[in-house]
Assembly symmetry: C2
Homo-oligomer: 347 residues x 2
């Protein structure tokens, strides 16, 4: 209340509670943890009352030291300011909070080596488990790093031997749906801005893209596929170079919405009309997709649900200690908007 916040944070301890209630600390501990099976109801009540009166709050640190649990999970993302990951993070936070777990946020800044670094940090912090999204690092070191955790879940990637539970989007399907949509609209020359070379989902989407082309009997040109960094700026630059080298392209499938937005801007710069001169499909269907103009046709991925699912899976692993290395595969759905079927717009 006063102007200076004093250092008088004398916390109430369990022994004070025990003393006031006239019992031993172990009894208080039992009451706290609802181990009331062999405890007189009146004792229980009395302890609760004392706890309330003294405003006692058990120290999670002391508890962690004794139990080797922290009720904390680590969340590793490449970039929390990317709408895709922040949406997932939100889903994760929601259910973690509801289940009394806190989340420790780590941003790798799209730097693969940082992934191992932050995992190391999380390990040292004794988190109960980790959820890692959008991994860029190679399989072997990652697997090695993940073995140090009681539990871990990966989002948007799958290890070859499947030892780590994963939440996956069926990206082959997503790539296929996007490409087929463009094919059905009559496009025969379709480019793919494939995102980071190290992205697992990128390679899967490429497979879907190829599959659709093959199915349509179209021979894919080598240069139609181009990697780029997954930002609007990256997409814009890549679009310029792709369209310059392959003027025959009439449609573009993009690794994510940010890249697609970059493509939109690139078209605006050179006066290409969307979708008449170039149809564009994004991926993830983030907030962005419906907000830009023209709105982007995009492959919808339920980020929030993926986040919740990841936490559920993780907590199951942590608590049941079952080694069920399951995989949850989420089916994406194409959301069709004006960037492929709209009235032509010059952006």
């Amino acid at each position: 209340m006063g102007p200076s916040r004093k250092r008088e944070n004398k916390r109430v301890t369990i022994s004070e509670v025990a003393q006031t209630a006239g019992v031993s600390t172990s009894t208080v501990s039992n009451a706290l943890n609802n181990r009331t099976n062999s405890m007189a109801p009146e004792t229980f009540e009395r302890i609760l009352k004392v706890i309330q009166e003294l405003d006692y709050r058990p120290s999670p640190i002391a508890r962690s030291l004794a139990t080797a649990r922290t009720a904390t999970i680590g969340l590793v993302v490449p970039d929390i300011s990317n709408p895709y990951f922040s949406a997932i993070a939100r889903g994760i936070e929601q259910v973690a909070y509801a289940r009394d777990y806190s989340i420790l946020l780590c941003n790798t800044g799209e730097d693969a080596s940082r992934e191992l670094e932050v995992l190391q940090t999380l390990r040292e912090r004794y988190v109960d488990g980790v959820i890692v999204c959008g991994l860029r690092q190679d399989d072997a070191p990652l697997l090695q790093a993940l073995t140090h955790f009681r539990a871990s879940v990966i989002v948007n990637r799958r290890f070859v031997n499947g030892t780590v539970p994963a939440i996956l989007v069926d990206d082959v399907l997503g790539g296929y749906l996007a490409t087929r949509h463009l094919l059905q609209l009559g496009h025969t020359s379709i480019g793919f801005l494939a995102g980071p070379t190290t992205s697992y989902s990128g390679t899967k989407r490429l497979q879907g893209y190829e599959q659709a082309l093959i199915e349509a009997g179209i021979e894919r040109q080598e240069g139609w596929v181009q990697n780029c960094i997954p930002t609007a700026a990256g997409g814009e630059a890549a679009t310029h170079s792709l369209l310059t080298n392959h003027p025959e392209l009439t449609a573009l499938f993009c690794f994510n919405d940010l890249i697609a937005v970059g493509a939109l801007r690139a078209c605006a710069a050179v006066g290409r009309r969307i979708p008449k001169d170039l149809a564009i499909v994004g991926y993830d269907d983030t907030m962005l997709a419906s907000l830009v103009s023209p709105p982007l046709t995009s492959c919808h991925v339920p980020c929030l649900e993926m986040g919740s699912q990841a936490v559920s899976t993780l907590l199951n692993c942590i608590n049941d200690d079952t080694d069920m290395c399951n995989e949850t595969v989420i089916t994406p759905e194409l959301v069709i908007r004006a960037s492929t079927v709209g009235i032509d717009t010059t952006v």
Copy 2:
């Protein structure tokens, strides 16, 4: 390595290190914490070697229990999936990580009562400090809740008595700049979509808006200002109602970019051209502003820097224990884009 992750997480402890190195645990502790002032260099070396050999990692939990420090800071945001907050979060994570602090993420979901709840949780978790952004709760309970922390920093709000260090944007100036820009373009009927009623920054921006109008000798109509929830959907709905009730408006200043994007959509729906029929100014200059079409004129707020600044201030408070309740005021800058001065676009 094997297919099943066993429970053999026998951690190396400080006593094992001490024993192997032939010293006491206190000496190892001193070595660990670089208290080498009175320690033989060869002892130090020997301990380091043993640490390396045994791959010893001190337990932060045990350390926390002994020192009453957790090297963790709490971050409270209304909505991590809002680009504005995720950008701030990124700034925070960056410098916190660099200074060996971890961040505990809490999302309140724009729910004022959740703010107190999560602060309670963070308190129980003994974080060393908290950074709270975009608070909606009233002053009194917040101040009360914040006193429980060793240190705290608030972003985008200022308590009347200024007892808590704050990182602020000069929102009066921002509102003024935005409005003056519109006035200079010749607009005389300018609406303001003011965001949540409980937003501190909202009221400040309103002041700037009013100031600019007064300066221009324009009498502000009561109905020109309307509150709305700070999302695209909220902005869209509010724009419809505002324009219906006040068809005289030729320009709109929006509380944030999301609302502005909603306004853009509302205009598209009724065929209003931007900026000819309606000029629109956003706020925050998030990624969104430059990506939508037409690109939004917006008041630029350096989110990353705000985040870094918040952490720096917080860590200063934590470590120096100085009660310097300073305020960092950041000057926003108007970024002019096509939504106010562009070639007319029908979106």
